[in-house]
Point group: C2
Chain length 195, copies 2
DNA sequence: GTCTATACTTTGATAGAC
DNA sequence: GTCTATCAAAGTATAGAC
């Protein structure tokens, strides 16, 4: 799977994560991918927008799988959530705060400027939220509350990414992780008390 | 204060909020401001980057004042926090999810691409965090905990903005507001119990 | 599917008259 | 301080040979 098409997607994913959509030029994508104009427009007749849609989807799936792997390898829910936030903080620090959410920058850019791509980012977030909700339901939390909690968890993670990248500090991610654990912990206790 | 220089800053602030930095061209700024190239480079010899720095600072101050006004007009801390998140949700809905955080898109764009502007965004967030921390301290929470709580509040707000704009739904902002109130409420109770 | 070359637009920025 | 005109570079996209 290291053909030209995949190289284009993977290279663009990295550039989108660091620079966003508008700042990433096709010429830079081609240069970094060792590819030609003809290859890009052969594989993506829709040009930059079609490539972007595929990159957003691929990045979303990859990040979801990463988080699920961390979460599911933990012995319990609270440990899983702790490790997701700790892992995010470690990655930020290890990459000099370059690697955070793979789609947040693009999501904000397209939210009011490109309806097709906005929908793609919404689908990615929706998939993440379903994944988290499933896990909280499996831990004994009722569906409505599990969904609401997952929205909070994702918001904490995304918001902390912004603050951490701007400040070049993991302080916010640490605080967000503590809050995430506290909130889910409360929900678990009231689930046990009122099943 | 409706001279050319101020028009440039105000117009650019709106464009940055909706499109981000890279997607906003100087020609669009000039067109929307009814200004000329010569005016822009007269007032901002440093070009787009200098204008961007001033716009980020101005947007940061304006938004901080808005939030402080909402917070301080409430009878107590928890009501204030509730109304900040409710106000954000109302603004999102009233503007078809176009008006969210004024600097988040730019902050993510510049975080790894423009060190000078990254520092400016960091200063804005730092000022917001100080403002929130002051208010929680005034409510009786000790400084360390107040700062940590404020980081969580800002992360919740910023993360919810992303999710709401992508989904075109205020669901995440509602959930984030509930979480914010719950977390600060807990802190207030333990402050009273253990002063 | 890939190569070279190119078309056309928009970008940020500057020059020089007034 | 403002006007018109213009620059060099980078932007996306396409054509046509192989």
């Amino acid at each position: 799977m290291n053909d030209t098409r995949n190289r284009l997607v993977n290279v663009t994913a990295v550039l989108f994560q660091r620079q966003g959509l508008a700042a990433t030029g096709i010429k830079q994508i081609l240069s970094d991918s060792n590819a030609q104009f003809s290859s890009l427009y052969h594989h993506f007749p829709g040009g930059k927008e079609q490539l972007a849609a595929e990159v957003i989807r691929a990045s979303g799936i990859r990040y979801q799988e990463l988080v699920e792997a961390v979460w599911d390898s933990a012995p319990d829910v609270l440990t899983g959530i702790t490790q997701v936030f700790e892992g995010a903080a470690e990655t930020l620090e290890a990459t000099d705060f370059a690697v955070a959410c793979p789609i947040a920058t693009v999501a904000l850019e397209v939210a009011t400027t490109n309806e097709e791509l906005r929908v793609v980012t919404a689908e990615v977030f929706s998939s993440w939220i379903s994944s988290g909700t499933d896990r909280l339901v499996a831990a004994g939390i009722d569906l409505t509350r599990a969904r609401s909690l997952t929205l909070i968890l994702v918001a904490l993670l995304e918001g902390a990414f912004i603050l951490c990248q701007a400040a070049k500090s993991t302080e916010s991610m640490i605080a967000a992780g503590s809050a995430a654990v506290a909130i889910v912990s409360d929900a678990l206790e009231s689930s046990v008390a009122d099943p």
